[in-house]
Symmetry: C2
């Protein structure tokens, strides 16, 4: 299938005239990864950026003793690694395939050349980066201002809204990953899920979570404390 057609749906390239789309397509290189494959590591030279066509990519930081903080999970249609393109430095984090993935790679110099010629591409890219900044600000806020139960509550609410209000949601990542995404460890996550169950805020079973007390969760997500805690 033609590359131009496949990138037309990506928000980064939304609204571009067909001819520009063709130019963008002409510099894209397709790459495939198996689950677990490394796309790049922190410190690698930033030679270009990627767009997820299929699969899922995990972008994360690692501490010396191995603990990992997930910065974001990128799904089809999203791009990552652009920071290195515009700062002219190394990649600031690690990226690896969370699921078997197909990516498009855009080499730095060629892409910068395109931007120079096409202002609306630049504006799209600015919008993408701004959104990311906004998400990061939210993540920083929740890491520093909220305790783990609050972060978890916020995430549950986020999921339930993304899935359009169904009171029951399904985690599409493992609990271990979720822990890393929330900035904690699996044990703590497990205990908190337990406690939320005991307090009848949710009913969780495996990867399914039913929301029982939405206001309660919202209160937690705003920074409220957990009613109390034996364990």
């Amino acid at each position: 299938m033609d590359i131009a057609a496949r990138i037309a749906g990506i928000s980064l390239f939304e609204g571009l005239p067909p001819q520009q789309l063709q130019e963008v397509a002409s510099i894209a290189r397709e790459r495939r990864y198996e689950k677990g494959d490394v796309v790049f590591l922190e410190g690698d030279e930033g030679t270009g950026f990627y767009v997820v066509v299929k699969g899922r990519v995990r972008v994360y930081k690692i501490s010396p003793d191995g603990k990992e903080q997930i910065l974001h999970l990128f799904e089809a249609g999203e791009c990552f690694g652009e920071v290195a393109v515009f700062t002219g430095k190394d990649y600031p984090a690690n990226a690896s395939a969370e699921l078997p993935a197909t990516l498009f790679f855009f080499p730095r110099n060629e892409f910068v050349g395109l931007i120079r010629k096409e202002p609306s591409l630049a504006l799209n890219m600015l919008a993408v980066l701004s959104m990311r900044l906004r998400r990061f600000a939210a993540l920083i806020e929740s890491l520093s201002l909220k305790e783990v139960p609050g972060r978890l509550a916020a995430y549950i609410i986020y999921l339930s809204e993304r899935d359009k209000g169904s009171g029951t949601i399904k985690l599409d990542i493992s609990k271990g990953r979720l822990a890393a995404l929330l900035g904690t460890i699996p044990e703590t996550l497990s205990r908190i899920l337990n406690k939320m169950n005991r307090l009848d805020m949710i009913r969780s079973d495996g990867s399914k979570i039913a929301i029982l007390d939405r206001p309660g969760l919202e209160e937690l997500a705003r920074g409220g404390k957990m009613p109390f805690g034996q364990t």
Copy 2:
């Protein structure tokens, strides 16, 4: 003094042709703030962005119970609030003058119009946002992966490098602010400073800090533990 001349030195506008600079200048509005004045609050409509001409601006998030996490302190030459411009949403954090400040305000629509016409302005803006993303990633990393001593050590090293290697540095923010910047509280900061003194890693006196054991600090900043702790 002519606005164009005053913005010429700002990195965001670096390398722009004189005529473009003039256009940029023509949409800037000068605004002055006293220490403590609010520039905008989280949730305010994002009508444009700001550049710091003089003074210092604090951008921060607040939790319901009043604890504050500083996202960044912006000095002369830096810009903030652009995120709202390109996402078309509200400001995602609060901003207020940390010192008496002079800012230039750039209204959103007019600025977007300029970007559309001037690709190198777009590229500059992309570089600025990418840098900011990089800093945020580092902040997220340190908030979630490192303990407070590590974050403090990283900050001390950062300061000493910014001031070009002088072994003695001077804090130009209050310790309370520094605590918020590091994602902690003044008490904790005070104790850790104390401990570092006792361990002969630094010698701190008021707002001056002398570095005694740089390798030790670097080890801490990489995620190492504090040798031990009676208090």
